[in-house]
Amino acid sequence: MKSMCEATTRELPGAAVIELAGEVDGSAAAVLTAAYEQAVGSADAIGQVGTVVLDFAAVDYINSTGIALIVSVLARARAERRKVVASGLSPHYREIFDITRLSDFIELFPDLDRAVSQLTPPAA
């Protein structure tokens, strides 16, 4: 199945940002996994990645399989002792993060700027 999901990654001091666009559904598995590994790997090269920021501002569809992918990313990040935060969710998908309890484990921010502004750079 052709993926309708795109991911752009970038590094910040102590953090990795994955900006998602399109549809987060079953077809997004490879895109999301590759983006996580690229983001964490490249950022780890310049310092420990304590936080992974998932930005959903350009995402227009998330289904139950997409929720499962986000659960998998969260489980992996927690196993690697990384924090996951999310930004840019629409009110509807914020509600779904609440219902599924994802928001108990992923701090939600209205937009990427506010998510990034709360990041604490690692101690020198």
């Binding site: 199945m1 549809e23 559904d25 079953g26 077809s27 569809y61 289904n63 139950s64 399989t65 929720i67 499962a68 992918l69 659960v71 998998s72 969260l74 489980a75 927690r78 629409s90 009110p91 509807h92 509600e95 779904i96 609440d98 219902i99 599924t100 309890r101 994802l102 108990d104 484990f105």
Partner: protein, 157 residues
Amino acid sequence: MTQITRPTPRRLDAFTLASEPGNERLALARVAGTVAGLGLPEARLERLKTAVAEATMNAIEHGNGNRPEIPVEVEVTLNGGEIVVAISDQGGEAHTDNGEHTEPDLVKKLHGDQSPRGWGLFLIRNMVDAMNVTTDGQRHTIWLTMRTGGSAHEEHV
């Protein structure tokens, strides 16, 4: 004796879809267009769209086994102040989404004690005012009811 008159259900739309992954997006878009103008607030429309997409996905995958030649049938009815969306497949009693009845538990999923998947029926139940399932021979139907002026699950808003 007081006679209570119930409104006659009015069929708004009926269509079929090939059982191919991704066609749930066609169902949600068409149902959203059909119920536009019925006064459903935006947040409740979004919930109905998610429920329709998830139910259609289940019908495509678990009911019809991703076989394009077996159609998923969708019917939208207005029954008084209730929108009823019926989504049917040919999975019968052996509908494989019956294995999804375990309540998803995020903590167990994060610890690897439950599959990360299994959110479909849980989402549907939480999105609409009522969800019912009927089976008639091979025909398996999920009925989604959303009150146009109701406010079920408003605690989530």
